[in-house]
């Protein structure tokens, strides 16, 4: 017993911080692995609708995005809802070409699994969305996903 008390009284040893980098590196690797860099900037204002019965999209590489909403720069592009494919505005007619281009990026096996995620502002009228849906049908991109934010219940 005496051995312990003598040692404790003599000097308070500093806690070793040698393992701190290890801990930080561990965290760093976690974030590096989970990070997905934002690959597209949105040219349109989108406030996604909310829903309770949502499912996660499993494989990101199989998903292509169509954004529909009013342009960010209303002074330049007006305030009518526009369609954004990749980094540019497009028309409904341009969708079939875009679908085949997106499909070319996938491997032969995944081509049938391609999913189109529709990110549409909740105040958009359905007319333009229906046009897009018909265009996707014609281009045989049949798997679609209405992108929504998950909530637990609607507050009424």
């Amino acid at each position: 017993m005496a051995k312990f008390s003598r040692k404790g009284k003599n000097k308070l040893q500093a806690i070793s911080t040698a393992s701190l980098p290890d801990i930080v590196f561990m965290l760093l690797f976690f974030f590096m692995v989970t990070t997905v860099m934002k690959d597209q900037s949105s040219l349109v204002k989108i406030k996604l609708p909310r829903a309770t019965e949502v499912k996660k999209l499993e494989n990101r590489s199989l998903v292509s995005h169509i954004r529909i909403g009013t342009p960010q720069q209303t002074s330049l592009y007006g305030s009518d809802p526009r369609i954004q494919l990749n980094d540019a505005f497009a028309t409904v007619e341009g969708i079939s070409e875009w679908v085949s281009a997106e499909r070319e990026k996938l491997s032969e096996v995944d081509k049938t699994k391609m999913t189109v995620s529709l990110k549409v502002d909740q105040d958009t009228e359905m007319g333009i969305v229906s046009d897009v849906k018909q265009a996707l049908r014609k281009a045989s991109a049949l798997k679609i996903n209405y992108s929504t934010t998950k909530i637990l219940a609607y507050e009424n």
Partner: protein
Amino acid sequence: MARRELGEINAGSMADIAFLLLIFFLVTTTMDTDSGISRTLPPPVPPEQQEDKEIKERNIFTVLVNRDDRLLVEGRVMNLDNLTQEAKMFISNPQNAGNLPEKEVQEIPFFGQYPVSKQVISLRNDRGTSYGMYIKVQNELTRAYNELRDELAIQKFGKKYEELEEAKKDAVKDIYPMRISEAEPKNVGG
């Protein structure tokens, strides 16, 4: 003496460097995964064979959304809150009522001979319907299917639908297949 001069490299700043990188990745990380309501569109129909498949009226649950975002379900004006209940009633048809869908006995794994209803939900919207409302309706209809599947799964296997094994999931899915037809929009009036 030479060995003493070499000494040890001071690793004290290592943590700082790592922290800097860590903070960079923390800031750039977006954790949000894509999620939403998945649907499969009907395959394109060649113009020459544009005939509609005959479905009996009693097997169709018609939901109309007009441009004022109001609902007309089976010819009646309805609130969004009642839609799920009504859709569930229609899909399962527990009392085998004459105006609700027919049932056909099918061989389903785990369940044996089971009467499966021939239900189809037809969702039609106006061009002026807001997307937010459309998603709310889609959500309610999906909820009807999910709740029915959950009820059946709990009754049969004592577990929720999502917790079942794939084969059992498929069996439950065979009994309550999600059939929501999203027709091309027509002006359903306002």
